[in-house]
């Protein structure tokens, strides 16, 4: 599967990146391709292009606050989970994505 994701937590210092790392690690394990955009205190990094979004089979929002530039994902299947959930149970997130 081709997956794109956005992670975003309130202070944007730690959890945003932990979630990103968790999702990247798990994706690699399961053999998926993934690109994760972080929306943290340094702003938007590794921004998802419209090409990335178009090619994606699934979109994951691991966020506790509103995701920025949501318009990009209109019409796509989005799975929304909390940041904590992505950190602690990334395998469940991907299981959800499969279905």
């Amino acid at each position: 599967m081709k997956i794109v994701a956005i992670t975003s937590c309130p202070t944007g210092i730690a959890h945003t990146y932990m979630a990103a790392e968790a999702l990247e690690k798990k994706a690699k394990e399961l053999g998926h391709a993934i690109k994760v955009e972080t929306q943290g205190s340094m702003g938007i990094e590794n921004e998802l292009t419209s090409a990335d979004v178009a090619a994606a089979d699934c979109v994951i929002f691991a966020a506790d606050i509103d995701v920025e530039k949501k318009e990009r994902f209109e019409g796509k299947k989005i799975i929304e989970v909390s940041v904590q959930h992505a950190i602690k149970h990334p395998e469940k997130v991907f299981a959800q994505a499969q279905n």
Partner: protein
């Protein structure tokens, strides 16, 4: 024909007529000759409106109908005033009393105590430290019993003369104490005492008992005190009942003034480690305590510069003040904790309180170890070499100051030796004091300032002329020509003491080089005399001057020939520069050391002095202000001198400053237009960018904390000790605020509490790592415990994302097992630090 005038009114005051409004009435009547009588129609009692005690005794409450009768030669004028007063001004004459301390419950308790709902009493810290012991009530003169008073052996008229003289002495003594009072509370209490001492009903009572009943002075004093207290005891108002203690205090002073020796207060000496509680304590009473057993002091009131506080500071005894005596006295016999760092008293020894105390003791030890390392420069390379001196007022304070890492005594204020006594100290007494300080210094410099009186420092036995503008009048060296003997004695004592250490003599309030030369002549004379007496001294003892007169600040070069060094007195310099009396609340905002004009003049002084190779130090409140420190360091001062409690904090901050950034602050602040801009600039100044984000000081394996609250406190303390956050308590609060919003337990035995804040709180972004001895409950009882706590302190800054990148990288690494496993098993702070540096790509 003289008539009497009457008016009626209803008491509008919610608290009734207690001490403060009674004083207002008394003050209003003072200018007239007519007799003015106040009658409480509800009770029928009548009071002389000039007697605060009688007014209070009339117990006029809210809503009571009252009548005021005016009768005498100037009845018309008096009555007009009285009518206006009661009709118009009276209702608003009862302002809220200045609080004797912050109201209980407003002090921010550390979280671990707050979570446990720990009982506490807020107070003002007066001398730092923390102590634990059994509360022991002490202090307060006890009036002799009537039967124990000596009977009269003189003619009644002679006896009355003695009593009258005593009243005057007590009143004058109170006047000078009021002038010297350093806090509004102290001033308030002393003013209330003075009005009682001046109360006509007290004098009338004494006169009657002595002249008509033939009692001796002290019998009359004791009996008057009883009689005048009686009606006060019945009052419903606590404020009125408190005046009884004032009456007793005055009676005690009167007794002393007529030569009756003060009775020792309740005889009990502490036999166990104790926290001494008292309404207030005289220096004599303090010194009579067994100081090895006194672990702390809790007073109802004491000014910050009261001698007792100074002595307590010098002995390293924590002191808090401001708790009402009625609350404090109830603690007698209980084991309590006094925290004079944060400012509260814990009246109950619960398990949490014991833990808190233990953690605080460890914190003190860590601070001391760090200070010791800094003094020895072990492994700490501070860029700024400015020395930190300590101010002292008594020789006893010197040894503890050096024990806490002082680089010298920046200012020994000798006037304390001259205050509160009947005559000046002799040469031998002074010599011993100066010698004590010199010897305690062990080779470090001790700057002794010659007598600096006048202005706000009054010495009754010198009978200084009263001036309209004492701060612009005869002060410091300007008075020396009037008291040649006293000056000669002091100079001789200082020169003799110079044989015992590195003493530097400092001259106050200099305006012209001639003054300096005149004093140097005195030094030379003393040296010649001592030489001929074969008494040792240091012939190269330097003599320097205070820079506080603006004209001197602008002509430093003219003084470089006669002065060996300079000491900038910012308290007075700012006052004169900004034309704002530092004791006048109305102009408090104008008296600001951050005024760009002051910054420029400091720069001028230091440049001019250094150009001629002269040392420049600085003393005054500004020296102890952490916000000012980077600027002072950047200005290139050789030394700043602070009050003892501030020395450790200032030294640790100095250790983390970046000299280049500090220097850059000088032209930036000098170019500001207002003090507010200067302060803002300093708040945001990036002065610690040279600090690495992690170092072994911030890694604690086998830390003490056993609960989440304890570990967070420990981390905050560690960060403060290392100079990375300015205030551990505030940092703790910030972390907890974040915790409420977002869980920081990550599973896998890791927790990452963090917070972001401005440079005012977080001086340098830092990572601290703590490993408890056993797993800690973090996110709730069902979650597995935490073994590694990584604390992130992120400083908000306009510029780089550098630190944020590091934290982001750290966050990602924590998701990897090998990274976690290393941290879980490692137990060497240096190895952990190196591992983090490598993995987070922290190359300096």
């Amino acid at each position: 024909m003289v008539m009497s005038y009457e008016m009626t009114f209803t008491c509008p005051l919610k608290g009734g007529i207690h001490a403060r409004p009674a004083s207002a009435i008394e003050a209003m009547c003072g200018q007239f000759q007519s007799s003015i009588t106040l009658i409480n129609e509800r009770t029928g009692s009548a009071a002389d409106a000039r007697s605060v005690l009688e007014i209070i005794a009339a117990d006029i409450r809210h809503g009571d109908p009252c009548r005021c009768i005016v009768d005498g030669l100037d009845v018309r004028a008096a009555f007009e005033k009285v009518k206006t007063f009661f009709d118009r001004d009276f209702a608003s004459c009862d302002e809220p009393l200045p609080q004797s301390g912050p109201p209980s419950g407003s002090a921010k308790l550390p979280m671990m105590l707050r979570l446990a709902g720990t009982e506490h009493l807020s107070a003002m810290p007066m001398s730092p430290g923390i102590g634990r012991g059994i509360a022991f009530a002490a202090g307060g003169p006890v009036l002799p019993a009537f039967d124990d008073c000596p009977k009269s052996s003189r003619e009644p008229s002679q006896e009355w003369e003695i009593a009258r003289a005593a009243i005057n002495r007590v009143r004058n003594d109170l006047e000078s104490r009021i002038a010297a009072a350093s806090s509004a509370i102290e001033r308030g209490v002393l003013t209330a005492h003075r009005s009682i001492a001046s109360d006509p009903s007290l004098a009338r009572s004494l006169e009657r008992l002595i002249m008509r009943s033939g009692l001796s002075c002290s019998q009359a004093i004791v009996k008057s005190c009883e009689e005048l207290s009686a009606p006060l005891r019945n009052s419903q108002s606590l404020l009125v009942r408190e005046r009884i203690a004032d009456l007793h205090d005055i009676a005690g002073r009167l007794n002393a003034a007529v030569g009756v020796v003060e009775q020792p207060s309740r005889d009990a000496r502490c036999m166990v480690p104790s926290i001494v509680i008292a309404e207030n304590l005289t220096p004599g009473q303090f010194l009579a305590l067994d100081r090895t057993l006194v672990r702390g002091l809790a007073l109802s009131f004491a000014g910050a510069t009261s001698h007792t506080i100074i002595l307590a500071r010098g002995s390293g005894i924590p002191v808090i003040a401001g708790i009402e005596w009625n609350q404090l006295r109830l603690l007698h016999g209980r084991e309590v904790v006094v925290d004079a760092n944060a400012g509260f008293l814990l009246p109950r020894m619960t398990e949490v309180v014991e833990r808190y105390f233990d953690l605080e003791i460890v914190k003190q030890q860590r601070i001391e170890r760090r200070l010791a390392r800094m003094s020895a420069h072990q492994g700490m390379v501070a860029q700024v070499t400015m020395e930190i001196g300590v101010n002292i007022a008594l020789a006893e304070e010197a040894a503890p100051a050096f024990g806490r890492g002082a680089d010298g005594i920046g200012l020994f204020r000798t006037e304390m030796l001259f205050l509160d006594r009947d005559q000046p100290p002799g040469e031998e007494e002074q010599y011993q004091a100066y010698r004590m300080a010199a010897e305690a210094a062990g080779g470090k410099p001790v700057i002794i300032r010659t007598l600096d009186i006048g202005g706000d420092k009054q010495v009754p036995y010198l009978q200084l002329p009263s001036e309209a503008n004492p701060f612009l009048g005869l002060r410091g060296i300007r008075l020396y020509s009037r008291f040649k003997e006293i000056v000669r004695t002091q100079v001789r004592a200082i020169v003799r003491a110079s044989a015992h250490g590195r003493i530097k003599l400092l001259i106050p309030m200099v305006t012209s080089p001639d003054e300096v030369r005149a004093l140097r002549d005195l030094i030379a004379l003393a040296q010649t005399a001592l030489r001929s007496e074969s008494i040792a001294f240091d012939p190269s003892m330097p003599a320097g001057i205070m820079v506080e007169v603006p004209a001197v600040a602008l002509s430093i070069d003219a003084f470089c020939d006669c002065a060996d060094f300079f000491c900038i007195g910012t308290n007075d310099l700012v006052q004169y520069l900004c034309a704002a009396d530092r004791q006048n609340q109305h102009v408090r905002d104008f008296n600001n050391p951050f005024h760009p004009g002051h910054v420029r003049i400091l720069d001028m002084i230091i440049q001019a002095a250094h150009q001629r190779g002269r040392w420049v130090g600085l003393c005054g409140q500004m020296a102890g202000n952490e916000r000012a420190l980077p600027l002072l360091a950047g200005l290139g001062l050789d030394e700043i001198s602070v009050d003892a409690p501030r020395a450790a904090g200032i030294k640790s901050l100095l250790g983390v400053l970046n000299l280049g950034e500090c220097r850059a602050l000088v032209p930036q602040t000098a170019a500001c237009a207002t003090a507010a801009q200067v302060e803002r600039l300093l708040s945001n100044a990036s002065i610690s960018s040279s600090l690495p984000i992690i170092d072994p000081d911030l890694v604690v394996v086998q830390c003490l904390g056993r609960t989440k609250a304890e570990i967070i406190k420990e981390a905050a303390d560690i960060l403060q000790i290392a100079g990375r956050v300015s205030d551990a308590l505030a940092f703790e609060e910030a972390i907890w605020q974040r915790e409420q919003v977002y869980a920081t337990g990550l599973g896998h035995g890791f927790a990452v509490p963090h917070c972001k804040s401005g440079a005012g709180l977080i001086r340098a972004s830092s990572i601290a790592l703590l490993k408890p001895a056993s797993p800690i409950e973090w996110s709730g009882p069902e979650e597995p415990g935490v073994n590694v706590v990584v604390v992130l302190a992120v400083r908000e800054t306009e510029d780089s994302n550098e630190h944020l990148k590091i934290f982001a990288l750290l966050a990602r690494k924590i998701m990897h097992e090998d990274f976690r496993d290393f941290l879980l098993s490692a137990d060497d702070p240096a190895l952990i630090t190196d591992y983090l540096i490598k993995n987070l790509q922290l190359f300096s």
